[in-house]
Amino acid sequence: MYNNVVSGVFNKLTQNEISCLRFNFRGVGNSSGNHTVGTGELIDTKTCIDFLLNEKNFEKIIICGYSYGAAIGCSAVNYSKKIIAYCAISFPWDFMGLKYKELSQSKKPKLFIQGNRDTLALYENFNKYFNFYLEPKNYKIIKGADHFYVGFEEEVAQEAYKFYKLITK
């Protein structure tokens, strides 16, 4: 279970004594099953949310997702009132269709992190999509970063950490 962006965020949060669960969707790594282009992966996300609420007794969840994980994870934002915010890193709206834009709509706090050289989660379309979302919302443009954030992991992690601190203060 490794990705430079996710691991950067996970390490930053855990080093600051913040409880975290990270997971692989079905068909990835050691997760069983097969890719379902979103439907099943949304179930996977909700399964993890249920686990945190019902088996670990957490009361408030912040979702953080990167790339496909942003599209799917943030689309579960309205699954429970105990989900209080989300942080989307390079939400690939253009590749995911309208469904996930609509599902990720929420009146809960949202942070969008975006590289200004991203040609997959297209930077040129970022404002159009960002403007769709309701307040409260914010964004952080990572200057010089493309979709893979090589060399920018710490900056992304720091923004995710700052967002957590803001939401939980």
Binding site: L21, F25, V28, I62, Y68
Partner: protein, 44 residues
């Protein structure tokens, strides 16, 4: 050293591979759920 548990979370369909870190800080109700990307999308 942080205590990161490698676990599987099951539903009716699959076993989901996950890593869980539980903070030592008492009575904190917050947790961050981090969703990995998918290698079929953009190779990340």
């Amino acid at each position: 050293m942080h205590r990161i548990d490698k676990i599987f979370i099951t539903n009716n369909e699959n076993r989901i591979e996950a890593e869980l870190f539980l903070s030592n800080t008492e009575n904190l109700p917050f947790v961050v759920l981090i969703c990995h990307p998918h290698p079929q999308f953009f190779g990340v």
